[in-house]
Subunit: 201 residues, 2 copies
């Protein structure tokens, strides 16, 4: 096809943008146009921001949360309860918990879930670093806060079996209906769990 | 809020990604995570692609279509009919026409539409370059293919008034129902135009 689309540097840009999560061909083209049309200063800022974030953000040496320091802001906060560790799948899950302001504990980020189907075994996620951390002592409770999915459950079970012999309490997030959700749209698994974990009022 | 979101290089990246078209906060965060997590080679390729597209793609000196040369592939194609110029709003419109394979003419890209409300006057879009081009002679017909919107119509009218004294035929794209559309979802303006421009069968 003649026209604009046969320019190699354009095609390469669209291809690279399409590799970003949830970006289809149309969105990628719209973004490519924006990049061609915006002024030099904006392109410099965008490129700088990409490079700086990629180069300076890494895993916290203690919990695996993202940070631009050696130790993240939560692990280095003296007011945090270090005797309770909440185990999550990804750094974004910490953001969700922090928003709820319920927990004042520390976290451990697995950076994935066990999945034999996808070839993800225990060595590929941050389980060993969690066990090392627990062996140092001082932890009384580990809250398993992996996703309520098949792989999330399996990962929580696998890890809790490793922890229990260490005489540390292991808990799992409560199951039930979501606040603000409509019962008619609640799936049957959630409803059956909500019945099983029902409370007297 | 504590956690991951208080890292300045992360916040800067999310802000820059949000400036891209049709990207909200959530999508921007997902893309930022991807950029942090992907390998160095992918970041290099993305940054390179952004810089190369921005630096090497510019307006064709004749028609204003995007190109990485002085003259775009359409204007430099000897088989093209240079006596007919199809006037479009943006380079992407050319791609649509080229896909339809109906036209073998050349184009002129306005890079915008007149809009007094947004302060866009004739000097801010590529009208003068069109008139200069027509003054050189050899053009028999100008097809106004701006969007069928208020600003698209106004721009087509404005330009056609400038061209008519030059003894060049000016035409406008036909109005009517879209092929493959459902009548029940067709807006009334389109339907009334389709009736007005009805053909005998």
């Amino acid at each position: 096809m003649a026209g604009f689309n046969n320019i190699p540097v354009y095609e390469e840009l669209v291809e690279m943008i399409q590799r970003l999560p949830n970006i289809g061909r149309r969105s990628a083209e719209r973004i490519a146009y924006h990049i061609i049309e915006t002024d030099d200063r904006n392109v410099d800022r965008l490129v700088d921001a990409i490079r700086k974030a990629h180069n300076n953000i890494h895993k916290c040496e203690i919990c695996g949360n993202y940070t631009d320091k050696k130790i993240c802001s939560i692990c280095s906060d003296p007011s945090r309860d270090k005797s309770t560790i909440c185990v999550v799948t990804r750094p974004r899950d910490i953001v969700a918990f922090e928003k709820s302001r319920v927990l004042r504990c520390t976290y451990h980020v697995l950076h994935g879930l066990l999945s034999p189907a996808e070839g993800i075994d225990p060595d590929m996620i941050e389980i060993r670093s969690l066990i090392r951390r627990l062996r140092k002592g001082g932890v009384k409770e580990v809250i398993m806060a992996t996703d309520p999915s098949v792989t999330g459950e399996a990962t929580a079970m696998y890890i809790s079996k490793l922890i229990k012999p260490m005489n540390i309490k292991v808990t799992r997030l409560g199951y039930g209906i979501s606040i603000g959700s409509e019962l008619q749209y609640t799936d049957e698994m959630t409803l059956s769990r909500a019945l099983e974990y029902r409370n007297e009022i």
